[in-house]
Structure formats: structure tokens, C-alpha cells
């Protein structure tokens, strides 16, 4: 039976995960409450379709993490495809496979014009999923993902005295009003509201700081040391900053990386945004990654390639860090 996932599918889902992905015992998803948090505590909702037997066994899943977003000035929901699976010897088998049928049902259930469904779904599929998705599920390449990488000792940081940086234990109330102004410079951006960031980062080992000038919020950074693209990096998961606070926030990130004993800072930003060049001037270099950003648009007003040039996104939008 193909249907939406339910909270009591947890045990079957985790068994399917273990069978498919050979999860380590200490994998984050296996921690108590993690699965429920991922699928049912997201403030933007739940997006998962499964194929399950009457005895509850899960054979295939197509899932996503929805994000509240702004799309040309109006509210929308974007969904990142994650955790899709087909249990070996059960759900696989080409374009007519159970996996594809589940994926198509997922698209029918959640995709749609803005206001009627999710207008944009996206992700970084592994190579095999890219091929299937391209052939059967409407995936289109949006861009080759590039990374900004800097050796901590090579950073040239110019700190403006007026900007103060404070590392916090919780996201401040002032964030929502600041984001509501900041987001207007982008035609498409997912929420960086307090609620969205709390769900995404709180209690999970991230460090975050804000930059202020004269008491006004000027920037936000969320960082974490993590293994990505084959090396341990200090990742700028979130990087939203005004130009007059960039240096101060970067200096904080550099010190945080040093404290973590990590030699490189790492970020993803769209090539067209101001900070893509500004960070290069500060000492970052642009590297290729193994990832290809793909997407599917469910609203003809915004083709997938439109998002390449208009959607501000960082690694914090993904589930990779």
C-alpha cells in the first residue's frame, strides 16, 4: 500500500533505513526522538510517502524536508528531497519500480502551484538517484554545486569596530524582524525565522552568533565542525550578513574554527550573491564539489533554472550538515 507516513511507522522506517543505508549505531537518526523530530516536529510540516506491507514492513520511501519560504514576495513551501530509499530486493528495479511509483505519488500529493502545493522541490541526489530521478521523476539540473573554502590562517579579515559579535545559546527574538527585512533582497529564500532555526539547530551541537551595530542586528552565522566532501571543515551553515558586519562575523567564525581545532572554513553560497565574491576577497577559494543541485518546479511561473539565479541558499538549507 502506498500512503503518507504516520508517526507509528517509526520502527519500520528505521529498520528500512538500517537495511538500506547500513547506518552506524550512533547515527543521529537512530537517537531517541530524532526520527519523530525530523518528520513530525518540522514547523513547515511533513512530507513523506511510503510503500508498506499490511504487516507494517516498509519497502520504499520518498520523503522531503519542507521549508517555509518567500517566493517573489509571497509565502510558499519548498521541499528538499531526503531519505528516499527502496529496501534491497524489494522496492528497486528500474523505471517501473516501486520506488518510482512512490516518488510519483509523493509528487502528486505535495507538489503544486504556489498556494496549492509545494512549487519547488530540490535536492542533491546521489548518482544512482540522479539517473532515476532524471528519467522518471522530473529532476532537472540547476547547477553544479561550488564550495567556498578558506584556510583559517590565510583569512584576511577586516573588522569594523562598530560591529559587535555575540555568541548565543538561543536565537534572539529580534531575528524575525531582521529576517523579514533581509529576505526582501532575494527573490527566493527559505525562512531564517527563530522558529525555523530553533527546529533546525537548537540542541544539536551548532554554534551561532549574531553581529550588531548600535544595537541593531546586522548578521547571523551558524557554524559547526563536520566531515564534508571528504574532510573535516568548520562549516558556515548559515551566513546572512550586512557588508558592515561581515568582517566581525568572519573573525568570530575564524576563532571558533581555531577553538574546534579545524583548519578550514567552508561555505556554500550562490555565485551571484554579494558574499560569494566578498569571501573570495577575504581569502576563500572556490572549489568544485561532488554535488549537483537538482530541482523540479510545480509552478510554471518559476522554472527550475530560475532558482539557480534567484534562490539564496546555504548549507543550512540542506540536511548535509
Amino acid at each position: 500500500m502506498i500512503r503518507a507516513i504516520a508517526p507509528d511507522d517509526e520502527a519500520a522506517a528505521l529498520r528500512a533505513f538500517a537495511a538500506t543505508f547500513e547506518l552506524d549505531e550512533d547515527a543521529e537518526l537512530l537517537r531517541p526522538g530524532a526520527w519523530t523530530r525530523r518528520y513530525f516536529a518540522n514547523p513547515a510540516g511533513t512530507r513523506a510517502t511510503i510503500a508498506a506491507l499490511p504487516d507494517g514492513r516498509l519497502l520504499a520511501q520518498y520523503a522531503g524536508l519542507p521549508q517555509g519560504a518567500w517566493l517573489d514576495g509571497e509565502r510558499a513551501t519548498f521541499t528538499q528531497g531526503v531519505d528516499s530509499l527502496a529496501v534491497p530486493d524489494e522496492g528497486r528495479g528500474g523505471l517501473g519500480s516501486l520506488f518510482v511509483r512512490v516518488g510519483r505519488r509523493f509528487a502528486q500529493a505535495y507538489g503544486g502551484r504556489r498556494g496549492e502545493g509545494d512549487p519547488f522541490m530540490w535536492g542533491y541526489p546521489v548518482r544512482e538517484a540522479w539517473r532515476i530521478g532524471r528519467a522518471a521523476l522530473g529532476y532537472e539540473t540547476i547547477r553544479s554545486q561550488l564550495a567556498l573554502v578558506a584556510r583559517v590562517d590565510a583569512l584576511a579579515v577586516h573588522v569594523r569596530d562598530e560591529a559587535l559579535v555575540e555568541e548565543l545559546a538561543a536565537f534572539p527574538d529580534s531575528l524575525d524582524a531582521w529576517f523579514d527585512e533581509h529576505r526582501k533582497r532575494y527573490a527566493a529564500i527559505c525562512d531564517r525565522t527563530r522558529a525555523a532555526l530553533e527546529w533546525r539547530y537548537a540542541g544539536r551541537g551548532y554554534r551561532f552568533a549574531v553581529a550588531t551595530r548600535g544595537g541593531a542586528l546586522r548578521g547571523l552565522a551558524v557554524c559547526r565542525d563536520v566531515e564534508i566532501e571528504g574532510a573535516r571543515r568548520f562549516v558556515l551553515c548559515e551566513w546572512l550578513v550586512e557588508h558592515d558586519a561581515r568582517g566581525a562575523l568572519l573573525a568570530w567564525a575564524r576563532e571558533a574554527a581555531r577553538e574546534a581545532g579545524v583548519e578550514t572554513l567552508y561555505a556554500w553560497l550562490p555565485p551571484w550573491c554579494e558574499d560569494f565574491l566578498a569571501l573570495q576577497v577575504a581569502g576563500f577559494r572556490v572549489h568544485p564539489t561532488s554535488r549537483v543541485l537538482v530541482g523540479r518546479s510545480y509552478d510554471k511561473r518559476w522554472a527550475p533554472e530560475w532558482y539557480a539565479e534567484n534562490w539564496f541558499m546555504t548549507l543550512g538549507d540542506t540536511d548535509l550538515v
Binding site: S144, E305, E309
Partner: protein, 328 residues
């Protein structure tokens, strides 16, 4: 409109005048016959043009520029789509998807599906991209980025140069040897030989190029750069069109790059722009020398006709520079 159309490969002797007249109507400017003949008829890799005619008049074309490509130990052909057009009279009154698509489908069937071309690619304008994606199986390989070096910060003087860098006219043997030293690290690359360089640069009808070569003390060519004279993309920008330097030749690379920047400055340029695949070590090396990565107004699109090739392969293994385009 219900007029008999014939869709077929170009017959240059019969179609040239009519094609160039339609070209002028569509693009609002004349195309010099010599320039057209050079691009279409003199290409050593062949000709790829389909036309639609009505009462003997060319009313549409889908065209490409083929290139001999070395891939997986064999020679194949990759073809860049260029200069597609439909006469305004034939854009109206036709059922979707229209004459453009009819000609393109015949072209792709002939050269790709039933022909020997492995890949057709290009950097389509937005309207062509939308139609191509919907009807012609265009897919995005990547959104291009370019490396840009501003010339306000001059390159450091090289105190003890190991190479002599000057304008060169490489022999075919030199060119082929240099390319073969490079291409071992590339999964696919247009063959840089005398025929290709003579056609692409020396004989170009509209643009002038400066070939700079780095020779070691024994006179061996260890690196080659091709700089286009005059503005490209924006005022003051000079295009570095080709960069043929084996990855182990770091000193030659440094000295050649410095010479390119000096030459661009002497030509009145304020910056140098180049397109180099992101996976190449040169992409990072040039950044370490002061080049920055900027977005480019180009989307690389491709259609693969060989199932062993796909867009991921092209993205990760195809050595592609401005030399492989008609952009500069």
C-alpha cells in the same frame, strides 16, 4: 499559411545566398559571407547544418560547429549548436511546436540519433533554452562561472624566469605534443592540433587572437595561451580563450599567466576573463594568483547521444574552454 516546406541538410552552393539573406532579416545585420564560409564550410571537423526551404528560399536553419574530441581512447565528434533561426514569416500560423523544432529534430536525428556525433552542446539564449528543454532534450550541464583577474593589481615580477614567453606560431607537432601532455588528465577534450588551431584562431574571419607560448631553455613549448584582442562581454575585458599547460608545468604556467596579463594590459584591457572547468587544478591555481570566480551569463546545455556519456560525465571530465565555443 500552408506552404510546402523541405527540411534537409544544407546544400551550400544552392542555399548560401538565401540563408544569408534570411540571417540578415532575422538578426537585423548582415553576416559576411567569408565569415560564414569560414565557420560553416572550412571547419576541419565538417559541417552540421539543416535548413528548411520554401519555394527554394531558406526560411529556417538549425546549425552546429563540430569538433573532433578525444574521449576514452577514441576520436568522437561533439557539436556546438549555434545560430539557429526561423524567418519571421514562418513563426506565425504554425502549430506548436513550430518550424524551429521541426528543423532541429531533423538535425538531431541525422547527426546524433542516426549519425555519429556523441554530444551536441551549447549556451542557448533563454528562449532557445526553454524550447530546447521542452522539445529537444536539452539538459543543463552547469551554470557557468568564469575566472576574472583585475589588472589594477599587476602580477609580481618574476625574478629569475625559467621560460621565454613570447608570441608563437606553434608547429602542428608542437601543438599536438603539448595537447597530449595535457589530455591524459582529461576525460574528454577537443583535439588541439594544427588544423583546429588554424581554423579556430589563425583563420578566424572576425576576431584576432594572440598566441603566447612559454618555451624552456631548450626551446620546447611547455605552455600555450590564446588571448583575444579587444573587448569581450564588457568594456575593458579581455578573453583568455585557451590555456594549454600541463599540470606539472607550474613555473611555465606562472610565467605564461604573467605574460597574458601584461599583454591584456598593453591591449588596453582592465581585466582578463577565462572559462576553465572547475575540476581542473588550474581553476584553483589561478585563484591562488589573484583570479576570482564570478557568475557568467551562460548555461551550458547538452544532449548526449551515447548512453555511456551523460551530463555528470561532461560536468566532471570534459576539458572545455572558450576555444570550444563561438562565444569569444
Amino acid at each position: 499559411m500552408n506552404r510546402a516546406l523541405e527540411i534537409r541538410p544544407l546544400d551550400a552552393a544552392r542555399d548560401a545566398d538565401s540563408l544569408l539573406a534570411t540571417w540578415a532579416t532575422v538578426f537585423g545585420r548582415e553576416r559576411r559571407r567569408a565569415e560564414w564560409e569560414h565557420q560553416v564550410l572550412a571547419n576541419p571537423a565538417g559541417t552540421r547544418v539543416f535548413v528548411a526551404t520554401c519555394d527554394g528560399r531558406v526560411v529556417a536553419q538549425y546549425a552546429g560547429v563540430p569538433t573532433r574530441v578525444w574521449i576514452d581512447g577514441a576520436e568522437r565528434v561533439f557539436t556546438q549548436s549555434v545560430d539557429s533561426l526561423v524567418h519571421p514569416e514562418f513563426r506565425k500560423g504554425l502549430k506548436r511546436p513550430g518550424l524551429f523544432v521541426d528543423v532541429a529534430r531533423a538535425y538531431f536525428d541525422h547527426y546524433g540519433v542516426h549519425g555519429s556525433d556523441a554530444v551536441h552542446y551549447g549556451w542557448p539564449l533563454e528562449a532557445a533554452w526553454r524550447i530546447g528543454k521542452r522539445f529537444l532534450e536539452y539538459e543543463c550541464v552547469r551554470e557557468e562561472v568564469v575566472l576574472v583577474r583585475d589588472l589594477d593589481a599587476a602580477p609580481a615580477e618574476i625574478s629569475a624566469p625559467e621560460f621565454t614567453v613570447q608570441e608563437v606560431v606553434p608547429t602542428g607537432e608542437e601543438l599536438r605534443w603539448l595537447w597530449e601532455r595535457c589530455c591524459g588528465a582529461w576525460g574528454a577534450s577537443a583535439i588541439r592540433d594544427a588544423a583546429f588551431y588554424a581554423w579556430r584562431f589563425a583563420g578566424h574571419a572576425d576576431a584576432a587572437y594572440r598566441l603566447l607560448g612559454a618555451r624552456d631553455a631548450g626551446g620546447t613549448l611547455c605552455g600555450l595561451a590564446v588571448l583575444r584582442r579587444g573587448d569581450w562581454l564588457t568594456p575593458g575585458s579581455r578573453a583568455l580563450c585557451d590555456w594549454l599547460v600541463p599540470r606539472v608545468e607550474l613555473a611555465a604556467s606562472r610565467e605564461l599567466e604573467a605574460a597574458v596579463l601584461r599583454a591584456a594590459e598593453r591591449d588596453g584591457g582592465h581585466r582578463v576573463v577565462t572559462l576553465i572547468p572547475e575540476w581542473s587544478p588550474h581553476f584553483l591555481t589561478l585563484q591562488e594568483r589573484g583570479w576570482c570566480v564570478h557568475p557568467a551569463p551562460y548555461r551550458l546545455a547538452a544532449r548526449c547521444f551515447d548512453q555511456r556519456l551523460d551530463h555528470l560525465f561532461l560536468r566532471e571530465h570534459w576539458w572545455l574552454t572558450l576555444a570550444d565555443s563561438d562565444l569569444a
